[in-house]
């Protein structure tokens, strides 16, 4: 039945799993490993999705699964190597992963242990198995998503953050995932788990970068548990190469009166699929989702978001914006579920796109499924060219066409960028956008 060219990568992965299992001895009986095995079996059943799958209609993973990757290839990056990424120094807790492996010599944790515990997944497996047992893979559903199943089966490292109740983590936390594709095709499957307990507060950013011109594949899953009255700011920033494949799922679970505030900014990357799924499993929650994608060349950027209003009196608000150049393609799929119990829900969704070339394509699909009767929901998508009238106005004042276009595009993008509340991160992105507009 599954006669697709993907069988190679799939069978390789299945075989890899069995081999590593044989080497585990007793550890293969652990609860964690049982989850991994279940996830692997599910991946085996699902196979890689094809465009016949409704959720993958516009995002064809065929070229990804034809590539041959070295998973978790070891790489010792030096501080000098990092300079090539031209990242500004960011304050706060900074954790580096290269090809999925933690790099302690590049990382720093400045927050006191009283404010948060931060460990790698590999470490947490040994030191806090109970915590993992309680939360790991409990939110990111691998029954329907082959990539989440794959990550759950294989993920070796990532970050586990636990913020105790009634604690505000003052410093921001930046997780940097670098694919070192200078010598060969590399793949990694980072897995993160953030537990933000009652009335706690944290700001976290995940950044994805590539070094080198070979192909890279990142399959990341992040689970975020936002307890009662907790507040989380979460930023996902992607500046990858044209040869980078990225599939990511961020799964958020919110309890009563919690706030989740996020921005997903994709400036570069070859083939990207971001899933942001938020379950509002409490009342009086707030969820804010902002997104900006700016593909050029033949880049493909797909953002799928899902907000599941399960309880009454919550509010979700979403604004995604895209600028598409050259032969690039973009996808926005925004689902909002309002369950029967979720009365007095207030859900707002908007997706606005500027398509600068006749060869670029944007596919948008808002999907509202509402089973409650007393709700306020609205959604809207627009896709068009730059405002000609505004362009003429700027030119009539002496601003040349190209600069006028940049000015308008920057203003369009800034609308999302200004939502980022970590100053250094926002300023860095502003510079990157300026640079991309200028080239």
């Amino acid at each position: 039945m599954n006669n697709q060219p993907n069988n190679d990568l799939k069978s390789k992965l299945l075989a890899d799993f069995r081999t590593s299992e044989e080497r585990m001895n007793g550890a293969s009986k652990s609860a964690l490993h049982q989850i991994r095995r279940e996830a692997l079996n599910q991946f085996d059943r699902l196979g890689f999705p094809t465009v016949k799958h409704e959720e993958w209609k516009y995002t064809n993973v065929n070229s990804l699964i034809k590539e041959v990757f070295e998973f978790n290839a070891s790489s010792e990056l030096t501080v000098e190597d990092l300079a090539q990424l031209e990242s500004s120094r960011l304050d706060g807790n900074v954790l580096y992963f290269v090809n999925g492996q933690y790099q302690p010599h590049l990382s720093k944790i400045v927050s006191p242990a009283s404010q948060l515990t931060i460990t790698t997944l590999a470490e947490a497996v040994k030191t806090t198995p109970d915590l993992l047992h309680q939360y790991f893979a409990k939110y990111a559903d691998f029954q329907d998503n082959a990539f989440t199943a794959l990550n759950t089966a294989f993920a070796q490292d990532g970050v586990v953050i636990n913020v105790p109740a009634n604690t505000t983590v003052e410093a921001s936390t930046i997780l940097r995932f670098v694919s070192d594709a200078r010598h060969l095709n590399v793949a990694s499957q980072p897995r993160n788990l953030f537990i933000v307990n009652t009335n706690a507060e944290i700001k976290i950013a995940e950044s994805f970068r590539t070094l080198g011109d070979q192909a890279s594949f990142t399959n990341v899953v992040t689970e975020i548990v936002v307890a009662e009255d907790a507040r989380v700011e979460y930023y996902k920033i992607q500046n990858e190469s044209d040869m980078a494949y990225h599939i990511g799922t961020t799964q958020v679970h919110q309890k009563d009166r919690s706030h989740f505030y996020s921005a997903t900014v994709t400036l570069d990357g070859g083939f990207i699929r971001n899933n942001l799924n938020i379950a509002l499993d409490g009342s009086e929650c707030e969820a804010h989702m902002y997104g900006l994608y700016f593909p050029n060349g033949r880049q493909h950027i797909d953002n799928h978001t899902l907000v599941d209003h399960r309880k009454p009196n919550s509010h979700s608000n979403e604004l995604y914006k895209g600028i598409l150049e050259d032969r690039s393609t973009g996808v926005f799929n925004g689902k909002i579920f309002v369950r029967e119990d979720a009365q007095k829900t207030n859900a707002y969704q908007s997706c606005k796109n500027v398509v600068l070339s006749n060869d670029a394509t944007m596919n948008t699909k808002p999907q509202l499924e509402i089973f409650a009767d007393d709700v306020k929901c609205s959604h809207g998508t627009t896709t068009g060219k730059l405002n000609e009238e505004a362009l003429f106005y700027l030119r009539s004042r002496g601003i040349p066409k190209v600069e006028a276009q940049s000015l308008l595009m920057y203003a369009f993008a800034e609308d999302v960028i200004k939502k980022i509340k970590i100053d250094t991160l926002r300023e860095q992105l502003e510079r990157r956008i300026q640079a991309k507009l200028a080239r």
Partner: protein
């Protein structure tokens, strides 16, 4: 300064300007009047370089240069300014930032050094007084949520900043109450000088009480059908446009 000869322009297959001839010298103010749909705004737009119109015949010389060969931004840098009838709202771009970019682009075109922040702010303060515009308005997004009067005042403020040789005011009086009209007119009058010229496009004579023209031209069906001294505007105010239409039809 400006010589328009037999200018013809159309939008799609629709001919709008059917042979305009006009000579504007430095130091002069010309009023272009006429009933709705006569082509007044088209003339203003064609001079500023709006690309929606096709110029099918004729020529426009500005200080000896063929204006029709220049892009809108080049015309601005040569010293032409169009005050829009409907100034565009541009979210995310502040007036201050936009004007600084515009000024320095124009200076670059003219081979001048850019203004630094201090010089720019000093100039801005000076010109703000001229049109009585508030600082808070200028730090907001360009024209976004501005009232009609605020938008027009912002146009005149930009004009004061850019100090054009030829200003074209396209229905700047529309939507203004009498106080706003007076402030806008004062701004324009303060820029009057023997080196500059102004073309005032208007439907009503009202604005001409404040900006007194040297010449009045009546545009009708894409042609200038009558020209005269400022008194012609009073006559139009009193008698409307019907007698001009009748005169044209009998010819």
């Amino acid at each position: 300064m400006l010589t328009i000869s037999n200018l013809q322009a159309s939008i799609g297959s629709k001919e709008i300007l059917k042979g305009i001839n006009l000579e504007v010298k430095a130091g002069e103010i010309h009023a272009i009047m006429g009933p709705n749909g006569s082509g007044k705004s088209t003339l203003a737009s064609v001079l500023a370089g709006r690309e929606d119109y096709d110029v099918t015949d004729g020529s426009v010389l500005f200080e000896g240069k063929d204006l029709l060969d220049l892009a809108p931004e080049e015309r601005a840098a040569e010293g032409i300014f169009l005050a829009f009838q409907y100034p565009v709202e541009i979210p995310g771009v502040s007036t201050t930032n936009f004007l600084k970019t515009a000024m320095n682009e124009i200076r670059k075109y003219r081979g001048l050094e850019p203004l630094d922040a201090v010089q720019f702010l000093k100039l801005m303060k000076e010109k703000m007084k001229l049109v009585n515009i508030d600082q808070s308005l200028l730090s907001r997004s360009l024209n976004e949520g501005f009232s009609g009067g605020e938008k027009k005042r912002n146009e005149v403020f930009q004009m004061a900043m850019l100090e054009p040789k030829l200003a074209i005011l396209d229905e700047t009086d529309s939507g203004l109450d009498i106080d706003a009209l007076r402030i806008v007119a004062e701004g324009v009058n303060q820029l009057r000088s023997p080196e500059r010229a102004t073309i005032v496009v208007t439907h009503y004579q009202r604005l001409l009480d404040y900006i007194v023209p040297d010449y009045v031209h009546v545009l009708y069906k894409g042609r200038i059908v009558k020209s005269g001294p400022k008194e012609l505007a009073f006559e139009l105010e009193e008698k409307g446009y019907d007698w001009i239409k009748a005169e044209v039809e009998t010819v």
